[in-house]
Structure formats: structure tokens, C-alpha cells
């Protein structure tokens, strides 16, 4: 009876998990936030530095890794270098197109892997994994020899093909992770309530896996904008942003 009467916050808290000593609690209160802050700092520093350099007062002739004072002039001259602007436009276009294609195809792969048991399912999963795990140098070299073999002229098209190729795997894996724990009975319930397969997909499946699709698409976009090695193999004379930057340094 007295338990009910004296039930205050500390008592209730004490019952929740394993007993904590006062020392452990203090550690928790201080060490965890400090540790978290250090990790976040570590992750953000490179990004912070590059943003900082955007305001760095240096001579335009050479890349200087030293602070020369604050300026906004680089922002005024952002589009002065036509090669850079063209390369940047190429990159954006390639990223947009390859992301759309890879997101659609990758999502379909994920849906198929989730929904059906079929011959070659294990092989499909293996290929996805191999695609992610294989060194880019291998993917780039083999793609190039393939394009040469079939006489495909290198250019924007081959870059898009290459980016779609490696992005499908990333999208499929991301969407698939979202679907883990997804109850198949939910789709059946939609059909049971009168939704045809298309309505079921649009009203139920898509909203549920959309966060996965979005994450996959963002990842694909970032990987595409960023890619240097594979792109370098298959780009022919076309310059993308990373290739231009590499050439400029």
C-alpha cells in the first residue's frame, strides 16, 4: 500500500531499467553529449573549411590553402569560368536524368525482391551487392571496354548509362531496407477493400515506401554528382564537374 502512496518520480524511474549508480548517471549526463559533439565536429569540419574558402581572399592564379581575409568576390565571379559552368551543368543534367531512371528501376527491383520468390532471386541480390562492393576502377574499365567493343561513342549518353548502372544497386538496397518489416497483408487488405493493383500501389505501397525511395534518389543524385573514376573512363571529351576540378588543380 505504501508503495502507491509514496510513488514519486525517482521511485518510478528507478524501476524502469537496471539500477544505475549515481556515478553512471553523471557519466551519462556529461560524457555522452561531449562525445556526440566531437563526432559531429569531425564530420562537419571538411564541409565547414570548404565553405570558409569560398570567402577566402587569395590571388586568382593559384589555389592557396591559407587564410587571406574575408571577401565576397568569388561569389560575384561564380560563373566566369565557362568551362566550369558547362561542366557543372553537365553534372546536374547527368545526375538528374540518371537519378530518375535509376530510382524507377531500382525501386522495381526492390519490389520484385520483396514480393516474389523466383528463380535467380539469389543471383539478383548477389549482383546488387557485387555492384556496390566492386572497385570503381573495375566497373569503369569494363564499361569502357564494352562501349569500345560495341562502338558506342563516349559522351553524355555513356556517362548516364554508367551512372544508372551503379545507382540502381544503391536505390534497390535503400528501398529494400525500408520494406523490411512491411506487412504484406497490408497490400492484401487494400485489395480486399476494393483497390485494384494500381490503386493499391498508389494509395498504399508507394506512400509507405516513399521515404526509402526518396533516400535512394538523394543518394543516387549525390553519387552521380560526385563520381569521378567511372565517369572518367566513359566520358570521352565531355567534362563533368569532378573531372573539371581534377583537371584544374
Amino acid at each position: 500500500m505504501s508503495i502507491v502512496a509514496t510513488r514519486d518520480a525517482s521511485l518510478v524511474e528507478g524501476w524502469g531499467g537496471p539500477k544505475q549508480t549515481r556515478k553512471q548517471r553523471r557519466l551519462r549526463r556529461f560524457v555522452l553529449p561531449i562525445y556526440s559533439a566531437l563526432v559531429i565536429l569531425y564530420l562537419l569540419t571538411p564541409i565547414f573549411i570548404i565553405v570558409l574558402y569560398g570567402f577566402n581572399q587569395t590571388s586568382p592564379k593559384k589555389v592557396a590553402f591559407r587564410w587571406g581575409g574575408f571577401t565576397l568576390r568569388w561569389y560575384r565571379k561564380a560563373f566566369v569560368l565557362s568551362g566550369l559552368t558547362a561542366a557543372f551543368k553537365n553534372s546536374l543534367m547527368i545526375a538528374a536524368i540518371s537519378t530518375i531512371i535509376a530510382t524507377i528501376l531500382g525501386t522495381l527491383v526492390a519490389l520484385a525482391l520483396f514480393r516474389y520468390r523466383y528463380r535467380g532471386k539469389g543471383a539478383t541480390e548477389g549482383i546488387l551487392f557485387a555492384n556496390i562492393a566492386a572497385p570503381e576502377i573495375v566497373l569503369g574499365a569494363s564499361l569502357l571496354s564494352l562501349f569500345v567493343l560495341f562502338g558506342v561513342p563516349r559522351g553524355i549518353r555513356t556517362i548516364i548509362i554508367a551512372h544508372v548502372m551503379f545507382n540502381i544497386a544503391y536505390v534497390a538496397v535503400t528501398v529494400r531496407a525500408r520494406m523490411a518489416g512491411f506487412d504484406r497483408a497490408i497490400e492484401e487488405a487494400a485489395q480486399d477493400l476494393g483497390a485494384n493493383p494500381l490503386q493499391t500501389f498508389i494509395r498504399v505501397t508507394l506512400p509507405l515506401i516513399f521515404p526509402g525511395i526518396l533516400a535512394g534518389a538523394l543518394l543516387a543524385f549525390a553519387l552521380s554528382i560526385d563520381d569521378f573514376i567511372i565517369t572518367n573512363f566513359v566520358s570521352g571529351a565531355v567534362e563533368t564537374f569532378p573531372i573539371w576540378v581534377y583537371g584544374a588543380v
Partner: protein, 373 residues
């Protein structure tokens, strides 16, 4: 009532080399509360899924309301399902979950509002329309799942162990509510469970299944009082079975000599076959236990034994008796204040009325995986 709502004709379903449902024929009447009862893996869910349209029968025909629906997809059948996992749409709130079916059928806005409200009231869940399924308790999710199905006013509602995930107390409460709701709306319920008590208390009729086949279809009383097979007798409650030989048949009764020598009388009607070796049974609570002194009273069936264990469980006494030919018999005696004056080791006799005797078809023994009930 009386009109046939569901008809399965020789329906079979194979998954590879697993025979999940084996040549099943079944009729359910309009407005009935019908249960499929059976041990794990006997094909209950598969049967339900074929009626719902989620599995195609390997052979056979399914009729709903007189129409052959065997090849129709789920969204073209006037049937709704309450899934065991509830399968609520996690991204939609309670209102939209319940309205989902109405929206697919282009019911107008006002009508949707009214009907969703009504069905949420029916399942006693008003006021939570804007909650997401993740913010509801198991019992509340269960009610929403029910409302979501009922709001469409289907001809038939399929329920696959809908109370399986609830704790015992809530389960009992929901059993009563389901029964009330079924009466209120008058929709035919096809209810799957492996809980025999649940099936007995709720159903108008039930089918006991095993290995993809139906062992018996009848009212709960009939199934309990006159189980057709040894399996049914054992699956629904405790029973005492004795092997015997039919000696003579006359005037509506038959005399059967059971192993150990006593002759018992059974209703002739329960001997459907003409075979002479039979298994007879009697429920433990139908038996009177007394000291084996003098002649047994006439008009009663009687077998002899030795009392092994006597247990007192408050409302009743339970006796375990070594019966004839190595059998073990169980007796439940209601605690009327005057227990039988017997002790373990005493010679006793077991008496019961001939009309309480049933005759069963022998079944193969239960496999281990079937025993969990």
C-alpha cells in the same frame, strides 16, 4: 436466413507437394456465424484465403451468393477480411482506414462521413478518428480493423484468428462483442480459430478440419455430444474411448461388447457404418462413479475399473480410473456436497446413460506439431 451464401465445391489447394486443402465441400447459410476449427497447419487460413481471392484453388469451384467467383480477384468480390495482423494502413488515420473501401467504391463525401461514424460507433470506438494506427492499443486496432471491414456491408466477413493477439481477458470481451455485432448487422461471419472454446461459444455451426479435410460439420452441441471421429472427440474437450464389437442391433439401439467384457448399449443411429468393430466414447461429465457393489442398475451402461487418482478442483471432483483392457478413463463429478465415497485403490464402476454414448470413426494419432491448441 436459409439461403446459401458461400459454397465450396470440392476445393483443393496444393503448394508444391503440400496438400493444404483436400477436396473440401462446404456450405454456409446467409446470416450464419460459421467457424473453421482445427489444429495448426490443417488448412484453415488457406481455405479463407481462397474465399477472399488471395489464393487460387488448384481444383474446385467457389460460389458467393450464387455466383461463381473462383477466378475473380479480391477487389471484385463482395467479401471483406479481418486479418490476424489487422493490416491497418499505418500512414492513414483511423477515419481514412475505415473510409478506404468506401472511397474505392466512389461513395459520396457525406455518406462516407456518416457510415464511418456509424461503424466506429458499432465497434465502440468513437472519438479516435484522427489517431494513426500506431497510436492505438492492440484491442483498439482490432476494433478499427473490424469497422474497416464492416463499413462496406459485405455479404460475407472473413475473420482469421482475429483475437489471436489479444490477452485472455480482452479476448473474452471481444468474443461477446463480435457475437453482438454479428447479430446487429446480420452479415455472415466465417471465423477461423484453433481455440475450441472460442468456436463453441460463438458459432451457429462449425467445421472441424484436419489435414486439409473436414472431419465434421455440425452445431457446437452436436459436435460435442456426438463427435464423428476420434480426432474430433479428442480435439473438443476430454473424452473416454473404448473399443468394442457390435453384438446385436434392435429397436433403435445396439449392444456393443467392449474390451474387458461388459456390454454397453448405444443409440443405433450413431452406428452409421455396418462394420462390427467400433470405438465408442462418453464424455467424463456424463459418468457417475460408484463403488462396485452388487448389481449395476438396469438401464445404465456400466464398466468396471480401479480408481487410481481422485482430485478435488473446487467445482468438481476428478477421478482417474484404470478401466478395462488397459484403458485410462476420466470422470468429472460436479461438487454437489456429497462426493462418492471412494478412495484410490477401490474397485469402482462407471455408469452412464446409453443415449450419452457416441460412436466415432477411428483417426490416426495426433502428430506432435498438431497438439498445441
Amino acid at each position: 436466413m436459409g439461403e446459401t451464401d458461400v459454397r465450396l465445391d470440392q476445393v483443393t489447394k496444393r503448394f508444391g507437394d503440400v496438400l493444404a486443402v483436400d477436396d473440401l465441400t462446404l456450405q454456409i447459410d446467409q446470416g450464419e456465424f460459421f467457424s473453421l476449427l482445427g489444429p495448426s497447419g490443417c488448412g484453415k487460413t488457406t481455405t479463407l484465403r481462397m474465399i477472399g481471392g488471395f489464393e487460387d484453388p488448384t481444383a474446385g469451384v467457389i460460389h458467393l451468393g450464387g455466383k461463381d467467383v473462383t477466378n475473380l480477384p479480391p477487389y471484385r468480390r463482395n467479401v471483406n477480411t479481418v486479418f490476424q495482423s489487422y493490416a491497418l494502413f499505418p500512414h492513414l488515420d483511423v477515419f481514412e482506414n475505415v473510409a478506404f473501401g468506401l472511397r474505392r467504391h466512389h461513395v459520396d463525401r457525406q455518406e462516407i462521413k456518416r457510415r464511418v461514424g456509424e461503424s466506429l460507433t458499432l465497434v465502440d470506438m468513437p472519438g479516435l478518428e484522427r489517431r494513426k494506427p500506431g497510436q492505438l492499443s492492440g484491442g483498439q486496432q482490432q476494433r478499427v480493423a473490424l469497422a474497416r471491414a464492416l463499413v462496406n456491408e459485405p455479404k460475407l466477413l472473413l475473420l482469421d484468428e482475429p483475437l489471436g493477439a489479444l490477452d485472455l481477458k480482452l479476448r473474452k470481451q471481444m468474443q461477446l462483442e463480435l457475437k453482438r455485432i454479428q447479430k446487429d448487422v446480420g452479415i455472415t461471419f466465417l471465423y477461423v480459430t484453433h481455440d475450441q472454446e472460442e468456436a463453441m461459444t460463438m458459432s451457429n455451426r462449425l467445421a472441424v478440419m484436419r489435414h486439409g479435410k473436414i472431419e465434421q460439420i455440425a452445431t457446437p452441441e452436436e459436435v460435442y455430444e456426438h463427435p464423428a471421429t476420434e480426432f474430433v472427440a479428442g480435439f473438443l474437450g476430454a473424452s473416454n474411448l473404448l473399443e468394442g464389437e457390435v453384438k446385436s442391433r434392435h429397436a433403435g439401439v445396439a449392444d456393443v461388447v467392449v474390451e474387458g467384457g461388459s456390454t454397453v448399449t448405444v443409440p443405433d443411429a450413431s452406428l452409421n457404418g455396418s462394420e462390427s468393430r467400433v470405438k465408442i466414447g462418453v464424455r467424463p461429465e456424463k459418468i457417475r462413479l460408484e463403488e462396485d457393489e452388487g448389481e449395476p442398475p438396469s438401464g445404465w451402461n456400466s464398466v468396471r475399473g480401479v480408481l487410481q487418482i481422485a482430485t478435488f478442483v473446487g467445482v468438481s471432483h476428478q477421478y482417474t480410473v484404470d478401466g478395462p483392457a488397459g484403458t485410462t478413463l476420466t470422470v468429472y463429478a460436479q461438487n454437489l456436497g456429497s462426493g462418492a465415497n471412494v478412495a484410490p485403490g477401490d474397485r469402482v464402476r462407471l455408469l452412464w446413460r446409453p443415449e450419452h454414448t457416441f460412436v466415432v470413426r477411428p483417426s490416426e494419432p495426433l502428430a506432435e506439431w498438431e497438439e498445441e491448441q
